[in-house]
């Protein structure tokens, strides 16, 4: 369907606390790196897709207007796709459809966040409507409830879940430590995670992502252009996006239907029947360790209710059967509007051998994912080194 589409360049800022530059300049840093990586000039771009978190995050609304110059979009068309946390996947999908339609040959996709200029948790308190807001708000509360729901639903032993979460935290921080762009770059042990202070039970400090400033840019090109200007493109093989009800109580968050169906759609398009075997690297959106456990099940990487066992066996650790979040994931770097797009950038870097210190040897097929909304949305993109 449509034309072939490839990632021909990616760019990330150094993520973290970036008091050294303004928000538009943060965006510019990522855009510049992506253009350099692809070896093209702004003139080559036919259109721009941008997305970020709600305006309350940094206090500037419709900030694509403010970023017009940084996005190199002056005189050009743009689209702005936003689906909360899954924005990064939604913007990428918009660019993919745009190129696949034939109405653009090269599209620049950008996501950004500068969390230190605002208050992320205050913003997230305003995602639930005013009545629900009184009972639940902010990310840790919502996701801790989800973790408890999952543990209860499958009757998972609490010690086992904690151990598996700790292994994920240690693995991710090891990836973050060697990833030059990551925000949190420290070495931690399993003991550190297990003994860390509780944020919202059962989530402890090292189970939680940071608040980061950062931006990411990805350049997409049509099959014809990609073959002409890029030695090693990362080909888009499948995309999927699903969303569910707004009110959290309306659906199970342990058997998370939007995650399951988004992944299945992408697998269908990519012709993947056994994801754990056929995929080499997975960049899963994991702002909380317990969520990664649930995602491993819902995204089809292990049987339902068995994620903790698989993680403890080391299946998803570095050198395991399926390497998960070698970049350190969202757990180490979380500029929200960019975080979902960073997953795609990292997946593309892995299959093109450009991931540097955290390269997974011989990676050919990679998986990128993001989730968002009031635990509602899941988006998936699959890339491959082969068309």
């Amino acid at each position: 369907m449509g034309r072939g589409v490839a990632v021909i360049g990616t760019g990330q800022t150094k993520h973290g606390r970036r008091d050294d530059l303004s928000y538009p300049d943060l965006v510019r840093e990522a855009v510049k790196r992506a253009l350099e990586d692809a070896g093209i000039t702004p003139d080559d771009i036919d259109g721009v897709v941008f997305g970020t978190m709600p305006s309350m995050m940094e206090g500037v609304a419709l900030n694509h207007l403010y970023f017009a110059e940084s996005l190199r979009v002056v005189g050009k068309p743009m689209l702005r796709s936003e689906t909360c946390g899954s924005t990064g996947q939604s913007t990428a999908h918009t660019g993919i459809y745009w190129v696949a339609s034939g109405l653009a040959d090269i599209v620049l996709v950008v996501g950004s966040e500068k969390q230190h200029e605002g208050d992320a948790q205050a913003t997230m308190m305003t995602i639930p409507e005013p009545f629900m807001r009184l009972a639940i708000g902010g990310a840790p509360a919502a996701f801790s409830m989800q973790a408890r729901e999952w543990m209860g639903y499958y009757n998972i032993d609490e010690e086992k879940a904690r151990e598996a979460a700790a292994i994920i935290a240690v693995d991710c921080h090891e990836g973050g430590y060697i990833n030059p762009y990551a925000h949190i770059r420290v070495k931690i042990t399993k003991e550190d995670v297990l003994k860390a202070r509780i944020i919202t039970y059962p989530v402890r400090l090292w189970d939680v992502c940071p608040s980061s400033d950062g931006a990411c840019a990805v350049i997409l090109a049509s099959e014809e252009k990609a073959k002409k200007i890029c030695k090693k493109p990362a080909w888009i093989k499948g995309i999927g996006f699903r969303g569910e009800e707004y009110f959290m109580g309306d659906s199970s968050k342990a058997v998370w239907r939007s995650a399951i169906e988004a992944a299945q759609e992408a697998y269908r398009q990519a012709g993947i029947t056994n994801p754990r075997k056929e995929i080499d690297v997975a960049e899963i959106y994991n702002p909380f360790t317990y969520q990664e456990l649930m995602f491993l099940e819902c995204l089809g990487f292990c049987p339902f209710g068995e994620a903790a066992d698989y993680v403890i066996k080391g299946v998803f650790s570095p050198g395991g059967e399926l390497s998960c979040n070698p970049s350190g994931g969202v757990l180490c770097t979380n500029p929200i509007g960019a975080a979902g797009l960073i997953r795609l950038a990292e997946a593309a870097m892995q299959v093109t051998g450009k991931a540097g210190p955290h390269q997974v040897d011989g990676a050919k097929v990679a998986f990128a994912h993001a989730m968002g909304g009031a635990q509602q949305f899941n988006g998936v993109t699959i890339v491959s080194s082969e068309l």
Binding site: S55, P77, M78, E82, E129, F241, G243, Y246, G373
Partner: protein
């Protein structure tokens, strides 16, 4: 390129509604589904258009409106800022061959959020523009002053746009502001930001507009006379007002791209109706010039001669335009819906006299029209 058509449209009224946003939205979406005879699950993909800043104090707009646009467990997405982008995204999904039908829904409940300019002042950066009090109205006042100075456009000519558009709105069942006014009424209304008068500024309105798109094959099965998507152009300008000539906007680029795609050489002759986004009265005149409907500086004469009247040679905003109905984010889709109705001859009392083969819909947002988008439809 795969052809894309509009199968049908549904609109809500712009008048304040007691329904909450979820029900208010769902009603219009359901009306369209019923009209076309499809179930929610029959539509391949859903694209919403909503904006966080216009979302009644709630963040992540589409988290709340996702169920009500019908998108549950469907391939779906959302555009922020301008619903015309959502229309384009729906078209792209069909042209790419991934989907055959797309529901595009723009939604906003103006009665539930702050004054327009409280919101538009948040478009300004916090360091340079916001402390100066720049928002859409103050930026527009500067643009209007420059327009009058450079081309000798008079305040009365600008006021005539209000008279014409509110007059048209009297016959549009969905319009928000319905009032028969004279040039004197407009001239005597409060000067809120010199030279802009209160009646020359768009109100804030409710507005849910739903449009069903389909590929050629599907469209022909769903309707006898589809209206075709022929052209699209959009362009962004620089952010700071001082970096631009406010009378040389990127609408020229957006229009030229749309004309090229639709194969239009002489817009004034080949287009039957134009629906423009005139958040401020003078902008209709300026946009007419930039879209090539008349020569630069001739916008004033065009309205004086009655050319853009509903029975004129070149009707502009027969719906009453944005001056009569301003649901900020969805207003782009309303322009498209009106063009659809005019082409189908279904606009009722505000149907233009001559037969419309091609129509132009325009949308703009940002200070003094920083971003413009143009869509061309045809029979």
């Amino acid at each position: 390129m795969r052809r894309v058509a509009i199968v049908d449209v549904a609109q809500s009224s712009g008048v304040e509604s007691s329904l909450n946003l979820m029900e208010f939205t769902y009603r219009t979406v359901k009306e369209l589904l019923d009209k076309v005879g499809l179930r929610r699950v029959d539509v391949d993909t859903y694209i919403g258009a909503s904006s966080d800043i216009f979302h009644s104090g709630m963040s992540c707009a589409n988290a709340f409106d996702f169920d009500s646009i019908g998108a549950f467990m469907k391939p779906a997405s959302r555009q922020e800022a301008d619903s015309m982008w959502a229309f384009y995204y729906g078209c792209l999904r069909i042209i790419s061959g991934h989907h055959d039908t797309a529901m595009v829904v723009g939604l906003i409940k103006g009665s539930e959020n702050a004054e327009n300019d409280t919101i538009t002042s948040c478009f300004a950066d916090p360091f340079y523009l916001r402390p100066l009090g720049i928002q859409e109205t103050t930026a527009a006042a500067m643009q209007m002053r420059l327009y009058m100075d450079r081309y000798g456009i008079t305040e009365e000519q600008c006021a005539q746009v209000v008279v014409k558009n509110l007059g048209n709105a009297l016959y549009n069942p969905y319009a928000h502001i319905k009032k028969r006014v004279t040039v004197e009424d407009v001239m005597n209304s409060e000067r809120i930001c010199d030279p802009l008068k209160a009646m020359e500024c768009a109100p804030k309105s409710e507005g849910v507009c739903a449009i069903l798109l389909a590929s050629e094959d599907r469209a022909k099965k769903l309707t006898k006379r589809p209206v075709w998507f022929l052209g699209y152009g959009s362009a962004m300008d620089t952010f700071y007002l001082g970096d631009r000539d406010l009378l040389d906007t990127k609408l020229k680029i957006a229009g030229a791209k749309a004309y090229k795609m639709a194969g239009i050489n002489d817009p004034r002759k080949e287009i039957g109706v134009a629906e423009l986004c005139e958040s401020y009265a003078y902008q209709e005149l300026l946009w007419c010039e930039e879209l090539g409907f008349c020569a630069p500086g001739e916008g004033g004469k065009m309205i004086e001669m009655g050319i853009t009247g509903i029975n004129g040679d070149f009707p502009v905003n027969p719906s009453g335009g944005v001056l009569a109905m301003n649901p900020y984010v969805s207003r782009g889709l309303y322009r498209i819906a009106e063009c659809f109705l005019q082409i189908k001859g279904r606009a009722g009392e505000h149907q233009v006299k001559k037969r419309v083969k091609r129509a132009l819909a325009h949308s703009a947002h940002g200070f003094a029209g920083q971003c413009h988008t143009v869509v061309i439809l045809g029979s």
